[in-house]
Symmetry: C2
């Protein structure tokens, strides 16, 4: 399975949030973050469709694109790869790097603890 590149992930993140969109709308959202040409967005999405990352269906004269791969599956894969390459595969080492940073808000900390408690059951 192909994993998305950086720019592809940006598009996927939009689509995961919105379900399905036309290029135009994805493009608009991308441009709220950074300048990018319309044909760039288009090309990316076409390539992604060809790769099997996106599906598209004709609607009038334009296409509507929707994500094929699942968010959590994909992010899991990316995370796994990142842990491998950066932390030698050690999840806890990543964790300590993540939390040892001291920039974790109390709120985040609480979220995490709640989550841990929930897992425990």
């Amino acid at each position: 399975m192909t994993t998305p590149t950086q720019a592809e992930l940006e598009i996927l993140n939009i689509l995961w949030g919105m379900g399905e969109l036309r290029v135009q709308e994805v493009h608009k959202q991308l441009n709220e973050v950074r300048p990018i040409g319309y044909t760039t967005t288009l090309k990316m999405m076409q390539v992604m469709a060809q790769k099997g990352l996106l599906a598209r269906q004709l609607d009038g004269r334009s296409h509507i694109y929707s994500p094929v791969i699942q968010e959590s599956t994909t992010k899991n894969k990316l995370l796994s790869r990142f842990v491998d390459s950066t932390f030698g595969g050690s999840r806890s080492q990543l964790l300590m790097q993540l939390l040892g940073n001291a920039k974790v808000s109390d709120e985040e900390l609480k979220e995490i603890k709640d989550f841990l408690a929930q897992i425990e059951e």
Copy 2:
């Protein structure tokens, strides 16, 4: 500051573990993992030295290379970037992905909780 690429990180990981080494030795260690040409390793390390990622000093007719950038600083930066691009900057979201989907051993879980408790102070 330039951040290391994938292949550069492999070399850095070796050097962080060993302190300082000649190309030959780094090359040998890399080859224990995957096949790679000597000049490839050499070129990488030369480029890294030029980028300021490595320092080198002459020893006889060869160079001894050592890392300039710090391990935790670097990994922090990489982690930060990864969180931004993949999880929209949310550390807790990364955490839940990390703990929720993959299998976490009880041991790891304990490590994490201990660490959290320690942070809390």
